[in-house]
Symmetry: C2
Subunit: 368 residues, 2 copies
């Protein structure tokens, strides 16, 4: 049986695959960008994931290749497949996570609800879209954006003028939303899908700050599961798929972004679900039976530790943070504090939402 | 802050410290007996733990030294302490886990309830003890016994004749017990103690086979917490202390064995407690605030995978075992199947004990 999983990318998502790999008896190997990466605690090699020979050499030592990020170029991915490497998710799925214009086109074919959008080649086309949508819109570079990068809210086409050099842009309706949701599912190559409860995500400056699992129920939230399953099947995603959604003021549930890997909005599942997103991702890419995605508590709250203490003294705050709540869990990613950088997260759970939030914030407050 | 923990011994206990080390941002290093050991997935060196220079060189690279087993010789431990290494538990505590005669003497001083016992130098003394205790007794070699090794139930002194070459033996009353319990606590160098719920353990041929957490309540069980705290304080144990107990037919709660490390009877805590014994051990030896030891479910059951499938085809059984219960967890230790060898365990949890047992056995049955 295939039991060695190779992860391209040495970030915290690869790092957090290590604990469930230990339990499952799965061997994990990481292709890291640099020495000292977050996932460098696992057996790893350092190399350039855009270099086909480097990735191929790494892939030959493992049974399945998967990813910490979506940035491996298509030609590299396609070469792996041509050489018979099991790649999950595969290049045909990843293209939709790598290119937001392709994603919008494909989701349109699948009939998935989305914000109004258009492909715009120049300022004139962009301005026309803005004029049709109350004078404002969200402009996105099709490639390379994440955590608020490559995204601008504009009220004039000129505000995106510098981006047209790189080619066509995506423009989307600026959705007035009640809240943002995230629906995670995992899908095996053989087709089995498991969905976690839909969660509410709170963003701060384009970066996920807090996650509430499950989201308080609403008509829109109850549709999220079906939307994510449609996308996972339609795009042939293998592994974890995260679907970021808007619950619009007018009640529409609209797909915002996709990620084809474990996702920040799923970190709550480590303690909060019977099977964490990291364990499930390993099971899925190995085409093993998926685990239960039931919540273990009525409420689980995850708070990101962004940047760390202003004085950089992470270690000094550590004991007090642990003492602040004996039943919350602090996760650190082995990264140096730097303003805005995700260096860890805190999870708390229980029956009473206010108490759960209080306990999680009591810990995270030590790192602000 | 001290953040690198060195574990002497490369068995499954060291292995299972790795997942919480990842989450806590604690660096783990292992001194393993051989290449390919269970904990060899963590950064490790291979060396002889009875060689003082080997252990000292290992210790110099870490902030705290702790253990996967209790077999490091006292002179080695004492040298570490003399060189200023933080050793938890320390040699003064470990001596009582290494020598069962010393343990009985010391527990007697602490007034802890025990089976009747005696130190016997020869067959004559042993026979006198047997004659006073209904003609039967349990003879133990003071050192080196575990999992039923070094223990014999005898009805005549001649049955232990071969063991007297090695020196004095321990003989104990053969306790008629209703059940066996285990009480685990963790203690920090600064004195804080946290106790898990007492559990019931079921042994098969002297080896732990199943654990039920918590044990169904009884007058004796409710006293276990106090007994374990008395021992932890009295022996100055740091890290996890496991106290194996008999609940005798006559209602007495009697201390059977001690272990000063994470223990098989605590594996349930990985999923079943808010803080697992492995996380707590790391927190304790680093003198960090201890985590909550509350149970996360009304019932958690742990079943050891002993030996593995008779045909040795562990991998072939793996998918079916995972499919047998989507909400049980299979832990494998990276060991080859061999009759009687602990190669993994299964944990299930929930509200209904019968259902929990059923689900755990549905998984473990694939490896019998």
């Amino acid at each position: 049986m295939a039991r060695t999983v190779g992860v391209v990318g040495g970030g915290q998502l690869a790092r957090m695959m290590l604990p469930p790999a230990v339990a499952l008896g799965v061997e994990l190997r990481v292709l890291a960008e640099t020495e000292g990466s977050s996932a460098g605690i696992a057996p790893h090699v350092v190399g350039d994931y855009t270099d086909v020979e480097t990735v191929l050499a790494f892939a030959r030592e493992v049974d399945v290749v998967t990813f910490d990020h979506e940035h491996v170029p298509q030609p590299v991915l396609e070469r792996l497949v041509a050489e018979g490497v099991a790649v999950h998710p595969g290049p045909h799925a990843l293209q939709f996570a790598q290119d937001k214009l392709r994603m919008r086109e494909r989701l349109g074919e699948l009939g998935v609800p989305m914000p109004d959008w258009a492909r715009v080649e120049d300022q004139e086309q962009l301005q026309a879209f803005l004029d049709d949508h109350g004078g404002r819109g969200v402009v996105k570079t099709p490639r390379g954006g994440y955590d608020g990068k490559g995204v601008r809210v504009v009220s004039s086409a000129s505000e995106a003028a510098d981006w047209f050099d790189r080619g066509a842009l995506l423009v989307e309706e600026l959705v007035s939303f009640q809240r943002e949701l995230a629906q995670l599912v995992a899908r095996r190559p053989s087709g089995e899908i498991a969905a976690w409860p839909v969660v509410e995500t709170v963003q701060l400056n384009g970066v996920c700050a807090e996650v509430f699992a499950p989201a308080s129920p609403s008509l829109a939230a109850s549709a999220a599961d079906e939307v994510a399953r449609t996308i996972a099947d339609g795009l042939d995603v293998t592994g974890v798929l995260a679907v970021e959604l808007f619950e619009a003021e007018d009640g529409r549930l609209l797909v915002n972004e996709l990620a084809m890997r474990p996702h920040n909005s799923g970190h709550w599942s480590i303690e909060g679900s019977e099977t964490s997103q990291f364990e499930q991702h390993l099971r899925a890419v190995l085409d093993l039976p998926l685990g239960s995605t039931m919540a273990r508590s009525p409420h689980t709250v995850m708070i990101n530790v962004l940047g760390g203490p202003a004085d950089g003294d992470l270690d000094g705050r550590y004991p007090a943070a642990l003492a602040a709540s004996r039943d919350a869990k602090l996760h650190l990613y082995g990264k140096s504090p730097r303003p805005g950088r995700k260096i860890g997260h805190v999870t708390a759970w229980g029956d009473d939402l206010d108490d759960v939030v209080y306990r999680a914030r009591a810990v995270s407050a030590h790192f602000e």
